[in-house]
Symmetry: C2
Subunit: 266 residues, 2 copies
């Protein structure tokens, strides 16, 4: 058995790799080399230079990958594991890919199932964070928020993901700000705490998001919101609206420092 | 008194003019010459060629304009009339613009006030359609939907707009389809009635729009929704979600034939 191995989170936009020694991370590397940046589906060719320094030291280092790398657009499509899903179910459904340099390479499947509202939902990559969290904190139940472009609310029982729901919070924020009337002719955005709080406070008042979003325009027209604060307001409104869906008041927040800080404030 | 005059609806994207003889429309013209297409705010210069054939016949023909032409980005900013607003209030606040060729020119103000959810809301142009509808159908109460990029739900009592709410239905549809994951790699969209109906049926099931929108992705992933039908589904979902905000089951729908037909189906 190898003592060293590489854990890889390969998503649509980013690539992150972790050199592991047993269960300890001893080095990391990352690159803006997500699936969208891999030409002609040449995944092995794209991967090799990213981890070559580690391969030089440990040839045929085993690889364990998660994320969109296992999707239709990825290296190898790995069918989703159905809910409820824990470490055991995920391990039973890993797929094997070939590397020209001889590393054994396994890709973890995502998870799919009906969400809290009965609609089909999917994740790829977050399942590893969730089962990892459950392993580190062996309590019976977890309620977890994974903020991001497609934010997830997940509920775990005895180490298994029981159900989860996706909210397109980050992507709606970006497209409305960059491509709709709301973002037209804005100066450099501020990170304004009171505009963010105002957005959060308006979320429950306007139960219809397509209506609430328009307030990012009208509050600017009536002078309440300086143009530089529109982005902070919109962020508060969208995060606030998302958090209304959370049935519990206590939840883990797993994500980047900037986003977890915003979710904590909201 | 002139017997002839011109009614003009000048919006952000479109220009429409109606040659009137008293209260009868005797000719129309339109051009994709909205405010965004007027260089250097030269509104009089942009207007003249559009109505020159009518001016040739009736020099100094009076003009009455409505729409975004009265906004900050328009010819002349006309302050909003506060709710409740009817024909009398609108007439009291028209502004006068100058035309180099001597036509008297008046611009109707928009209307502003708190919407059904207590957030500030605005309209420019729709107030003329609404007071026109009330004049044509002199019943005490009207509930009116004006579908579009920024769809409006308006409530009238005795000819006055009492309150209204804006829904960014059309704009969210366009930006999500053109700029988010939901629209990525789609073929030419179909106009599919069953996908539209499926979207409408899912709207009440998923009370959180940022969650419901993701189903346009997952239903495509699981094979329920052919890629060509994603746009129809998204349209049904967004119009369905908007109509949940309507307290009444009977409403006028005022708009283009294609859109009013969709709203009628939903």
């Amino acid at each position: 058995m190898h003592k060293h191995w590489i854990a890889i989170d390969w998503g649509t936009s980013n690539f992150r790799a972790f050199l592991m020694k047993d269960s300890l991370c001893v080095a990391t590397t990352h690159a803006p080399c997500g699936l969208l940046n891999v030409p002609d589906r040449q995944f092995a060719a794209a991967l090799q230079p990213l981890i070559q320094p580690w391969l030089d030291k440990y040839p045929r280092l085993p690889l364990l990958m998660a994320g969109m790398v296992g999707s239709q657009q990825g290296w190898l499509e790995v069918p989703y594991v159905a809910l409820p899903a824990g470490g055991e179910q995920l391990a039973a459904q890993v797929a094997t890919a070939n590397t020209p340099w001889g590393s054994p390479c396994q890709i973890i499947a995502g998870v799919s199932g009906p969400n809290a509202f009965g609609l089909p939902d999917v994740m790829r990559g977050e399942e590893v964070q969730l089962t990892g969290l459950a392993a580190l904190h062996p309590q019976a139940q977890h309620c977890v928020i994974l903020p991001g472009t497609h934010s997830k609310h997940a509920f775990l029982l005895n180490g298994q993901i029981r159900h989860f729901s996706t909210f397109m919070t980050g992507e709606i924020y970006a497209v409305m700000l960059n491509h709709s009337l709301l973002g037209r002719d804005l100066p450099e955005p501020s990170d304004d705490a009171s505009a963010f709080a105002l957005g959060v406070s308006h979320a429950p008042a306007a139960p219809f998001l397509s209506n609430a979003l328009f307030s990012a325009r009208t509050l600017r027209l009536d002078g309440t919101l300086p143009p530089a604060d529109v982005a902070s307001y919109l962020s508060g409104l969208l995060i606030g609206a998302e958090l209304l869906a959370l049935p519990e008041t206590q939840a883990w927040i797993v994500g980047s420092p900037a986003l977890t800080e915003r979710y904590t404030r909201a």
